[in-house]
Each structure stands twice: as C-alpha cells, then as structure tokens.
Symmetry: C5
Subunit: 308 residues, 5 copies
C-alpha cells in the first residue's frame, strides 16, 4: 500500500511509485507508434483513409466503458472486502484475547499458562494466514508462538491456519473441561474462533476465485481492438497530433485495466496491495500488550512510501 | 473455472479455452454476412441507402447498454453469491467438525463413533449438495460416508441434502440426550447445521430462479435489432470495412450477453462455472484430516486449464 | 415465473408468453402512427420541419436512461429481495421442523402430538403468507393444517399469518413449560419464529411500499415526451423509415419501463412474478416428509411454461 | 406516501398530487422565459449567436448526469433504508409482544400486569419514535400507554424514545428478578430491545445526517449553469421551439433533483415521504390484538390518495 | 458537517461555507487562463488550430466520467459507512448502559459503583475513539471518566480506546465473579463490548486504508489532461467564450474530485466531515442521564452553520 500525502502538480505527473504507468508502458508505446504510422501515411497519402469516421469507435466505446467499469467495480469490491476481512480479524483477535485474559482466572498457574498459550496461538494464526495467502514460508514468524509439542503435527498439515484454529479449539475445549470456563462463556469464545475461520475462508475465496477468465479476454480484446481502430478514426481531424491523443486515450483505458488487474488479487506484494505485514505486526503488538508483555516488537513503517 | 496466468498478446487473441467466442460464432458470422451484403449493395448501387445516419443507432445503443450492463451485473452477482455460499459451506464444515472433535469426548467408544459418523455425514452433505445442484448421480461419492442403516431411507428422499442434514440433526440430538454435549454447546452446533441449510436454500434459489424471462427476450431482441440496423447505419461512412466493424461490435455486445448467460447458472460444468468438484474435494480432505485420517484423497487439479 | 429453455432465433422474435410486448402494444402503435404522420407530412411538405435536429433528443435521452436505469435496478432489487425472503422461509421452515422432530422426544404421545401440531402450523403459515400477499382466500389450503380448536379465533384475526406465528409461539412456550424442551433449546427455536416474522414483515414492506409515486410520473412523462419528440428528430434523415425506428426505440424504452413495473410487485400472478405457489407446495412436501408421512402431494409443475 | 393505481395517459400528464411539478414550477418558467428571450433575439438579430454549438453542453451534461444519478441513488437508499428500519420495528414489536405474552405466565395477576405494561410500552415507543422523527408533540398519542407513575420522569427526558426503551429494560429486569422469566429467555427478549434501539439510532442517523452540503451546492450550481447555457446551445437549430425544449429538459433535470431532495429526509409529511402514521397505527392494532383486546382503533386510510 | 436550510438562488451561487470552490480555485483559474490564451491566439491567428475537433475529448470524457463516478461512489460509501459505525456506537453505548443499570442491582454499594464505573468508561471510550481518529489529545475529555487507579497504565498504552475496552471487559468479568451478573447476562453484555471493538476496527480501517494511490494518480492525471485539451477542442466553435466554458467544465470535474477527496477521510475537521464532537457529546448526555445525573453538559450546536 502506498502511504503518502497528495503530491503537487509536478510530482503528480512524474511519480512512478504506485503508478500503473510502468506496467502499461509497452501498450502505450505500441498504440502511439501505430498512431504515428497512420498519421504519417495520412500526411503523405492524404486520400488513403478518406471515409473513416468515429462512428464505430463511439459504438465500441460504449461497450468498452461498460466492461472496464464493471471490472473495476468488481476488482475494487474484492480489494475492499479483503480489507474488511482483515479488519474483522483485528476485532476477533483483540476480542478473543480480551476474553481469554479476563474470563480465565489469572490466579492459578494453569489459568495463566492457558491464557499465554491461546493468545500466542492467535498471533501465530495471523502470521500463518498472511503467509498462506502470499504462499511464503511462515515458520520463522510463527515458531516462537507455537507450543513445541504441536510443532511436528502442524508441519504435516495441508492447511496450516486451519490446523492452528483446530488447535485453538482443542485448548478451548480443554479449558472448559478443566472448569476454567463455563460452557456459556466457552460458546462465546467459540463464536470468535468460528469468525476467524470465516475470515480465512473469505480470504481463500478471494485468492482462489479470480474473476471469470472470459471477462479478462473480453475486456482485453475489446480494449486492443478499440485502440487499434482509434488512430484511423481520429487521424482525419487530428492530423499529426494523432499519436499524442492515441497515447492519452490508451493511458486512460489500459491504466484502469491494469489497476483492476492488480486489485483483483489484493494479497500480493505489489504497490497497491494490502499492507498485510503491517497489520499482522499491529495485531501482534496489541495481543502481546494484552498479555502484559513490555518488550514489544516495532510497528512496520512505510519504506519509500510503500507499506507492506 | 479457468485457471491460468495472463496470456501474452498473441495468445490473448487466439485462446478459445474459456473464451465465449465459440458460443457466439454463429451470430458474429450472421452479422458480418449481413454487413457484407449491405456493403456490396452500397458499392454497386450507391444511391440505395442515401439518407441513413447513425441517429437511431445511437438512441438504441443507450437502451442496449443499459440492458446489457444491468444483466451482466445481475448475473455476476449471482455467480459471486454462489461462490460466497460455498465459502460459507467451507466455514461451516470446518467449524462443525472442529467442534465435534473437540467438544465430544474422545475417550469413550460412543464418543469416537459419534464424531466419525457426524463428520462423515458433513462430507456426504457436501458431495450431495454438489450433485443436487448439477442434477448428477451422487451415490458413488457419498455411499462410503453414509451409515449403512440409513441408506434405504435416504434413497427414498425427495431432497437428499436436506435429508442428510435432518439425519445430522438427529445424531446431534441423540448425542445431547446421551450426555455427550451440554444443551448450550448443542445449540452452538445446531447453528452450524442451520447455516448449512441456509447455504443449500441459497444455492437452490440461484439454481431455480433465473432472471425474469422477459429480460432475456428484451436483451436479445434489442441486441439483434441493433445489429441488424448497424450495417445500414455505418455503410455510408465505412464502405467496404462495414463487415469488419459489424463483426467487432457484434463480438462485444453478443460476447457480454453470452457470458452473462453462462454466469447466470454458476453450478454447471461450463468453462466459467464454479469449481464445485475441487471445492468439495478440498472440504473432504480437510475433514478427514480433522478425524486424524492419514490416507487422504488427492486434491483435484486443473485439466487443460479447466478446474471443475 | 416463466420456465423454459432459451428459444431459437425465430421463437425469440415471436414468443409472446412472458414477453412484455402485449402490455406495451398500444404505446408502440401510438408512437409508430405518430411517426407515420410525421414522415408523410415531411414527404409531401418537405420544408415543414426544416431545422429540427437530434440535439434536445440526445440531452433528454441522458435523463431518460438515468430514470429507466434507476427504476429498473430498484424494481429488480425488490423482486430479488422478495425471492431471498422466500428462500429464508424455506430455511426457517426446514430448520424449525428438523429441530422440532429431533429435540422434542418421540416417545410420548404428548411429544408426538406437539411435533405434528407445530410442523403443520408452519405449513399453514407458508400458505397463509402467500394468500396474504396475493389477497386471495387461504382457508381451503390451510384448514387441514390448523388445530380445530383455534379455527374460530384465527378467522377473526386481522393479520392471519401473524396470528399463526403467535399460536406457534404459544405452543412452543407450552412445550417448554411441560419440560419437552430446555429453555436454551426453546430460545433456539424461538429465533426461527422471529426469523419467520422477519420474512413476513419484509414481504409486507415490499408489497405495501411501492416506489415513490413521483418516480412513476417522472419516468412516464419523460418517456412519452421523448417518444413524441422522436419522430420530428429523426424524420429529416430517416424519411419513410421513421415509423419503423420510432417503433423500435419505443419498444426498448417502454419495454424496460413495463417490465420494471411488473417486477415492482413480485407477489402477483403475472408471467414474471415469483412462483409462490410452487414454493409453498415444495415446503409442504419437505415438512410432511420430516413428519414421516408417505402420502405426499404432487409438486406444482409449469403449465404452458408458466410456474405460479 | 401516494397510494393509487396507475393513472391513464390523460391523468398521467395532469396529475399534480404526488408530482414534483409544483415544486419546480418556478425553475421551469425561469428557463422557459430565458429560452424565449434567446429565441426572439435570435429571430430578430440572427447573427448574434452565430458560432454556438452543443459541445460544452454535452461535456457538462456528462458531469450533470453523474451528479444527479449519484444523488438520486443516495437519496433513494436513505428512503428505502428508513422503510426497512420501520419494517424491522414491526418485527421487533410483534415478536417482543408475542414473547411477552407466551413466556410470561398468564396465571398470576403480576404476570398479566407485566404483560400489559410492557406491550403498551412498545406501542408508546412506536408513537414516540414517530413524533421524535417528525419533531411533533407525542403526548396525546402515548399518554394512554404509559404507566402513570413514570409520566413525570419521562417528560423530563431529553430523548423520549430512548427513555421508554430504558423503562422497558427496567421492567424486563424486574420480571426476571421476580422469577417470571429465566435469564436465558430474558436475554432473548433483551435482544429485541437492543434491536429497537438499533432502529431508533438508524432513523436518527438518516434524520440528522443529510448528504454532505457540498453535493447540494455542486448539483444545483451545475444544473443551473447547464440550463442557463442550454438555450444558447439549441437556439441555432431549434429556433422558436427553443423555449419548449428548454422547459422539457429543465423539467427532467430539476424534477429528479427535487425528488431526490424530498426523499433525502423520508420522515416528513410530504407526498413522497413514508407513511409512518399508518405504520404506527398498524403496529398498535397488532399489539392490542396480541393482548386480547377487542376494541381496536381503525387503521389509517389514504386521504385523497395520500397516506401519512 | 454543514447544517443549514437550502439557500435561495442568490446564496446558492455565492455561498463559500461548505463549498469546495475555495479548494479548487487555483485549478479553475489555471484552466480559464489557458482557455484565454488559446482563445486570443485563435482570434489573432485564426488558422493556427484549424483541424481540432471534439473527438478525442469525447472519448477521454467517457473514461474520465468512469473514474470520477467510481471514486465518488467509493468515497461516499466510506463516509456513510463511517457514519453508520458511529450510529452503531450510539446503539452499543446506550444499550450497554441500559443493561448495566438494569441487570446489576442498585441496592448494594458495590453494584452502584460498578454501574457508575462502567458507564463512565463507555463515555471515555467514545471520546478516546474520536481523539484517536483525529490524532488529537484525549486527556482533557476523558480523565474525569476514568478510575484514578488505572490512569497510569492507560497512559502507557499504544492504543488507548482498545485499552479502555479491555478495562471494561475486566470489570465485567469481575462483576460476574462477584455474582452481580449471571454468566448468560454477562455474555449478553460482552457482545456489546465486542460490537464496540468492531466499530473501532472499522473506523481504523477507513482511517488507515485510503483508496489505492494509483486511483488518485489516474483520476488526477486524466482530469488534468482532459482540461488541458479542452480549450483546443472548443475554441473553434466557442471563440472568445472559451475561457468561460473551460472554467465551468473544470468546476464540475475538479469539484467532484475535490469533494471525493474530502469525504475519503471522514474523521477530520473539514466542512463536510462527520460531526464526531457533537455525536460524542450526545452519547455523553444520554449516558449520564441513564446514571440519573441531573447536571448534564450542553449539546454541541453548529457554529456559523458548521457542526463538528
């Protein structure tokens, strides 16, 4: 995620960090070159594109803006829903550790250990979910928070965050059996675990179900066809300015297209993706504070405007 | 569901897998032929379509884009809601088996058997729901997970997934009567069963209530009328390029139309439908792991980019 | 609801069942006649509409498509929400009878009778709600499912479905008093009754709160003004084809308008309304099956493609 | 709320009841007069507006339709959400009184009195909320339903509906203390009271948070600028018909604007506002029926098509 | 938030309070100056921009209105969601204090103190959340409502509102341990605390996750490019009126842009931001009234139409 104040007019046009221009530079150049070729041909052989007008372009433009608008809305909804799910995870993590540290008694060793164990498992779940979604290696981040006895069985699991949740559920059931919690409060805590399972399933849904492939084809093909026709449509009136206008229009349409594609999978490390690392760290700090720890890790700060 | 990376520019134009071009090829050809006929007529009898302009086309285009945009949004919402419902099923299946295996004691034979029986019934429900939605035969997939004693009565049922849920509810009530669960925890598990009933009803709703038939008529009729008028509208300015532009515009409009139609019923086996088989298998693996099984079935992988 | 496969190209243009053409035929003819009059006048007195162009038409068209698009979305949302509410009723009816037949013991006469009584009341509620929404006579459908002793007091009620729900609540409280259910499970069943009250209130809301009347006036007036100006706007360029184009444009705009109007109240018996009769019957069959009945009524099938 | 069948074509154009024409009549006349002035000037000094075209009008029209469309959607959403909240109040009022009259025993004097007292408080809440939202005097409507002992303290309250809910909560807690309700059922009833608090807060939100003021300025200024430019843009082609077209376009744009403004605060007494009086009365009748009363007040009927 | 009645026509055009004109004045002037330069150049060297037409402008306008429309919707949704979250806070604060003052007995000193302590903590949470979102100093507002013993530990906390919620949870658990509340009612109150944690997390989400930076770049760049091309596009037909039309179009597009930017972070002190101070004060008054206090602080009133 890019975190910076609004740039001034000069910066606005020359900022590359977070911009999608680098991604679509080849397309813009391609269309501008085509525009140049058409404009020069027209300049030297004025009668070669005599009767072309904007008519088909306008008709196709209606369809294209329909496609781009739809895809942009759908992608942004996915991005924002992903953010909401992580916001829900913040609530669940904070509330569950609040409940664990207040309803389970502090007075016995067993109670204290259960609190420690379970709150740490929630931290482990948070990191494990992030690595699961980014397909990166979780073990450095989570090993300190896992009970040593369970490490081997967790390593064999096919779905690590789900296995951690099951472990959390096991400890909860044990706490209830040992009389640390009444069954009503146990239900209350169980609801938070189910809610965390819901967050995980929603993130997996967004990660593993892209927009139907056919949309991608339809949008791209129509965008390219549109931009290939464009110079023929405007060369009659714009003359040698044709390449400039082609580049500007291509920037607007391909830019929205590329941005939609980036937002479609919001869990990556690209400039406009969600700052999952910073969010997990923030949950980690909150939960350690709940346990009364005083040596807390540092929050993640943006590096060159980029927060990951 | 098509699972593949973004194709390059060449592949983009020639990929047929997952594309809707094969579906609408007849329409494109029809409109292109009409365009050819009109262009040739105009070429040899230049004065035959003298006064036609784009005016009615532009007015009709506004209506058509309204219809197509609305229908596309509605169809995509159905597709995405269907995916969300299956995501909810993932949560319910995982959470219910987590709860069954932690709250019901493992120490007695009866407890262990109840766990086994009920978790397997959840797997059976998942497969049964998929086959129910696809109107295919469920018995091969689900028989191993059903208690032999109930097989006959289930086979007589008019709505198999619903009957399995009722059976699940019966075992839950029995477990509570036998003292394996307190009534509070029993309520907690019952909520998951109700949530699974909700998933089923929502899928049945999407399956059995298509968009109002009149929309389909309205969209199709307007699209055809538009494309039939199109060549007359542009032949005056585009001359012999008329068939090309007709084909491109027809591709964009009929393409969106055909894709909307495919997404409207997301439970089929078409290229852009949901990967229900893979999702049920993934639930199956998760739940067997919860039971501590070590011989797990293989996950379903995409075949020629297509995941079903 | 119209239930049929996609018609072929020929059927597409000549299907009247489920189409809104019959509803808007007078408007189309009116506009076409006006178009004919204008075209003929122009033919014989060519200089009478000399300076008219499309400008005001295009400006008004923007407003009209805004109105029609908004109204169509709002009406479809009402229709789809109504369908969702009935889907929720399916869940509530199925879940409540599942809970009644599993949590209330089967072993005593009293338990069995309570099960029978309450599940039948749910069926009665379903039919009563349908008749309430359609303002038709419910007694033939519901009398067999009502306890004879309550018939008189129900007949005096001002809001029959609400009175049935109250009766259901009374039996539930009685069952709890008699010890057939613990208070926790009783709360669990009570939530389903409240959910059914929610379905009823939502259906009543959709039924009794149409879109603000002023929208209807605004949409209709603008649509008529647009279509009255239309022939003057296009006669200069389209000549004798004016009536044809007028009819097509009128079809598109008035068609969407009429369809929106039909969907606005989704509980009627029109071709695009919801199949409430079939859904109530399907709930009836499900619930009788839950009670172990073997003589079940037949499901409702579409008649001439129309499912009611 | 206007309640009437669809008017015929003649009525359609001349109905004023519920129409927004009276509200925007001054604007329409103003624009038409400006159009007349421009048209006459053009008639006598044909060369005075020589080069004006529709270009800036079309560009501004895009922005204007964006603004009007957005504002209309936002206002309608507020109106419909307000209606949904009152629908939720119907559910809460009906369900809470159903629960009160079934779970609290009828056999003791205390039980009967508690039922009476609390159900009447719900009626009082409904009326009080309506008057709170309309800033009218509630005491005539609610005094008969309030316990005389609490009247004074309620009259001092700064937020009457909230004070009634607190009173309802106090009686509920008392009922539980006296053993009329178990604590589980008490929680069940408490959820309904919280839900009524939610309805109140949502209505207050809609009432006290209008759309940002800057939108209003932006929409109005753009609409006026657009309509002031309009006659200059079309006089070249429409001649003496300019005032007519100006009036029609002004009707469409200002009409939508005025309607959005009316819907933005849906709790008033204007023609398109919600029928809160009728809804409160209907809740009143339902709840008195629940208490077994036989002398019920009459439902509110529309007066000259207007239901308040 | 601006609170005022609809201004009359004269005020409408000259109101600056709450308007976004002051924010975008530099852009409007810049575009108008460019328009002047182009118009004068055209006046003296008529042949210098001979062939420019509106074509590229119209094509780019489609993209621009797509971007502005999307961004406006997204920003307004954030603003309205933020308002809804604060509405939920109103419900939670009112309901939790209602429950505290009715379910915890008033008869013992301990009970009364617990009520006082906890209701005051809710007030402190409200103020702390507001200051947290506005990054301002909370201590003046909240110190009177905090227990002196906890002051030091709260001052060390990294996330003050979260720490207050944890404290609230601690007192709740203590109340339950001391037998002031049954565990079922305790769960009921705990749900409200979790709901307040949800409000906080949602507000933090809106505060710390702006729209993807790339949108901002895309919208601004396209808007500037559009307005830079604009005078060349219209000077051919509008002549010396070019600067006027440029300024009007720039006002409409940059105005919507600036307003979207202001609404994107709704927690500030700008004219169109939410009136958090007034809302917190209103909660404060409500809750003190619940405790039976009679000396209540004054509600916040708008100052020069501005309510903060």
């Amino acid at each position: 995620m890019i975190v910076r104040d609004k740039p001034n007019l000069f910066q606005l046009f020359f900022t590359l960090r977070g911009s999608i221009v680098p991604l679509i530079f080849p397309q813009i150049v391609l269309i501008a070159l085509l525009g140049t070729a058409v404009a020069l041909t027209q300049e030297y052989f004025p009668s070669i594109f005599p009767s072309f007008t904007l008519a088909p372009l306008a008709l196709l433009g209606v369809a294209l803006s329909l496609f781009l608008g739809f895809r942009n809305n759908a992608s942004y909804d996915r991005w924002w829903e992903a953010r909401k799910q992580w916001g829900q995870l913040v609530v669940d993590a904070r509330s569950l550790s609040r409940q664990l540290t207040t309803y389970i008694t502090n007075d016995t060793d067993n109670g204290r250990q259960t609190q420690q164990l379970m709150v740490k498992l929630i931290i482990a779940f948070t990191h494990a979910l992030r690595h699961h979604l980014r397909k990166s290696d979780p073990w450095t981040d989570i090993t300190p928070y896992l009970p040593a006895a369970e490490l081997v069985s967790l390593q064999r699991s096919k779905n690590l965050p789900d296995a951690i949740l099951r472990l959390l559920g096991k400890y909860l059931a044990k706490a209830q059996e040992q009389g640390l919690l009444s069954d009503i409060l146990s239900k209350c805590l169980d609801e938070r675990i189910t809610s965390m399972a819901q967050v995980q399933a929603a993130c997996e849904r967004i990660k593993h179900t892209p927009l139907p492939f056919a949309y991608m084809l339809l949008v791209h093909r129509t965008a390219y066809l549109y931009c290939f026709i464009l110079p023929f449509g405007i060369v009659g009136t714009q003359g040698l300015f044709t390449p400039l206008f082609c580049a500007i229009v291509a920037y607007a349409f391909f830019g929205l297209d590329a941005l939609s594609e980036e937002l479609e999978d919001p869990f990556g490390l690209a400039a406009n993706d969600l700052a999952l690392t910073a969010m997990s760290r923030s949950i980690e700090i909150n939960l350690l504070e709940t346990l009364g720890e005083t040596e807390l890790p540092e929050p993640i700060l943006p590096h060159n405007y980029l927060l990951q």
